[in-house]
């Protein structure tokens, strides 16, 4: 009897290992989009437990690389697909649908124990992060003379991160142009950990990671130029585009082959229906409802290609672009 019971228990235990799924959706890419996609996927698993959704984090560039090798169905991206990636997609004959899912502001933060930073201008940020500053701009008083003569410790996105591409384009004028002597990581949690415990630190990363760690960080408002107003990134300022130039849309890219599979269609529909509510929940910024609607139209019509193929994403107005594209 005892033996029978233990056998039965074993069988029950093992049966969960052999659980068969109706389908699998593989997602990878940006760590900034990850919280939203993961939140959506969790909800989706509740209503459709038969579909297995896995979400990885390997940075926007890393995600696109897998996406263009046809290893994943959906790629999370915190920037639009680059020219060279579009080139590669043509070579590998991979067609994709581009869907904006939320806005994100890049937060510039310092340690809460930093008392002197009241705001930063874009020019000052450029001075901090420019490639020419490498090994030269290393102290706070080099940024503004009235600031103390203490070391300037920088924390920022790693080179395969979409945040890195966007930040360097917005601040230094050219994607991937940055100094190299800072703590670079694709994992935003490492940056939060670093800057929150470093009085002389300054970091940039997605607003969602700031919202999550509010009590450990101090947000720095940004001025576009010396005379303009210093703006904090908030839902409002990011959505309306007043927080410039560090507000950007985030995307998911869907392989057209996968987009023809019914359960992927179900997932994307679910994603766009719930993205707004979940974005608020995780501290990211929702897009206007019309954008989600237009995006879903795009998806349903299997409209491939990027609307940013021939224009810069910095300061772009999504709604206008999508409307123009729909006509």
């Amino acid at each position: 009897m005892y033996r029978f019971i233990s056998l039965a228990i074993l069988l029950v235990l093992f049966s969960s290992c052999f659980k068969s799924y109706e389908g699998k959706i593989n997602i990878d890419g940006s760590s900034t989009v990850y919280p939203l996609t993961e939140a959506v996927s969790e909800e989706f698993r509740d209503i459709r437990p038969q579909i297995r959704v896995t979400v990885g984090v390997s940075g926007t560039g890393g995600g696109f690389k897998k996406f263009l090798r046809d290893e994943i169905d959906i790629s999370n991206a915190s920037r639009s697909i680059s020219k060279s990636e579009i080139e590669l997609s043509k070579q590998n004959q991979i067609e994709f649908i581009e869907i904006p899912v939320s806005y994100d502001g890049l937060a510039v933060v310092v340690s809460p124990n930093n008392t002197f930073v009241d705001y930063l201008t874009v020019e000052e940020l450029h001075k901090m992060w420019a490639p020419e500053s490498q090994q030269k701009i290393t102290r706070w008083n080099q940024i503004r003379p009235e600031w103390p003569n203490t070391p300037l410790n920088l924390y920022g996105a790693g080179t395969s991160s979409g945040t890195y591409d966007y930040f360097t384009e917005a601040i230094n004028g050219k994607a991937k142009a940055s100094r190299g002597d800072y703590t670079a990581s694709e994992d935003d949690n490492v940056l939060v950990q670093g800057v929150s415990t470093d009085v002389n630190g300054l970091a940039y990363f997605g607003l969602a990671y700031y919202t999550e760690n509010k009590d450990k960080l101090k947000l720095v408002p940004i001025k576009v130029n010396q005379d303009s107003e210093a703006i904090y990134p908030t839902d409002e300022t990011v959505r309306t585009g007043t927080y410039q130039p560090l507000a950007r849309p985030e995307f998911i890219y869907i392989n057209v082959k996968s987009a023809k599979i019914p359960y992927v269609q179900e997932y994307v529909k679910f994603y766009l229906e719930n993205a707004a509510a979940l974005a608020e929940e995780i501290g990211s910024v929702a897009l206007p409802p019309e954008v989600y609607k237009l995006s879903y139209e795009r998806f349903k019509n299997l409209k491939t290609g990027s609307i940013f193929e021939s224009k810069s994403i910095v300061g772009a107005n999504l709604l206008n672009l999508l409307q123009k594209d729909a006509q």
Partner: protein, 295 residues
């Protein structure tokens, strides 16, 4: 019957030779793989720059390939670990061998060896989340990522390496030496540190060298707690990047294979390999030279 036993003897011998060849061939294979990519690397980057440039930024727009920042990071954390582990490790070994009761030694030694069994990733988070905040109470200027905290924790990790081998070396010292020392009127402390430790010095030095090469190659602790900023500094309060951390960082990221960026990890790897190889050879040589001096 006799013939077949000789046959099986031969067969077993062959298996044993094959087994020992596996480790030798693996080492040769590693050296070969490292060398091929390193040679390709040095076809593009001059060796002189590699050892003299003070910046290491191969992934960025302004590329520099100076190994020095990574090397100082590695050496700095290792030196801190050694400074922690050597006095503590040897003291424990002397205590266990000279002072403690047999029963005490029998209980404490296995517990001590558990230290070596803790996964290094656990040590890493211990350094980052516990030791660093603790140190910051005393040293407010300490960065969140720094060389000091992982260095100390790495030191704790390698204590059992030193204690275990040193204790064996101390136990191997002939009894007659200790008795002679007592006979001359020396007390316990004098006997321990003036007679026993010098007599066991070759074994103790070997244990230290092995522990150092373990610390040099340690990856997880420094990757988690020391930071990822190649920083040419000997200041233990600042964030540093070690060779091993850099290799992890690049292999986890998405640097395309067969690119110069990718080859940097082989050049870095072979530098580290050279260091541990030299250290291991020194320890081998010491062991050989001073072994059984008292027999």
């Amino acid at each position: 019957m006799a013939k077949s036993s000789i046959k099986s003897e031969k067969f077993i011998e062959l298996i044993m030779i094959a087994c020992s060849l596996i480790s030798v061939l693996t080492t040769l294979g590693i050296i070969l793989v490292l060398s091929i990519d390193t040679i390709k690397f040095f076809a593009e980057v001059s060796f002189f720059d590699f050892i003299t440039d003070t910046q290491w930024t191969p992934l960025f727009a302004d590329k520099h390939f100076g190994i020095l920042p990574l090397l100082t990071g590695t050496i700095l954390t290792t030196v801190i670990a050694t400074l922690v582990a050597v006095p503590v490790g040897i003291s424990i070994a002397v205590y266990l061998n000279e002072y403690a009761s047999k029963k005490f030694t029998a209980t404490v030694k296995p517990i001590l060896e558990i230290l070596a069994a803790i996964p290094t990733v656990v040590y890493g988070f211990f350094a980052l989340q516990f030791v660093t905040p603790l140190l910051q109470i005393f040293i407010p200027s300490l960065s969140g990522f720094n060389a000091l905290s992982p260095g100390i924790v790495m030191g704790i990790m390698i204590i059992p390496y030193i204690t275990s081998l040193s204790e064996d070396a101390l136990r191997a010292v002939p009894k007659s030496l200790r008795e002679a020392s007592y006979g001359l009127g020396a007390n316990k402390l004098q006997t321990a540190f003036k007679v026993m430790v010098p007599a066991a010095s070759s074994g103790i030095i070997v244990s230290i060298i092995l522990a150092i090469s373990r610390a040099l190659g340690e990856t997880m602790i420094v990757a988690i707690a020391a930071g990822q900023q190649p920083n040419l500094t000997l200041n233990p309060l600042k964030s540093v990047e070690t060779i091993t951390t850099y290799i992890v960082q690049v292999s986890m990221g998405d640097v395309p294979q067969d690119s110069l960026e990718y080859r940097t990890i082989f050049a870095a790897g072979i530098t580290l390999f050279a260091f541990t190889f030299i250290l291991n050879n020194i320890s081998f040589w010491i062991q050989k030279k001073y072994q059984n001096r008292y027999d």
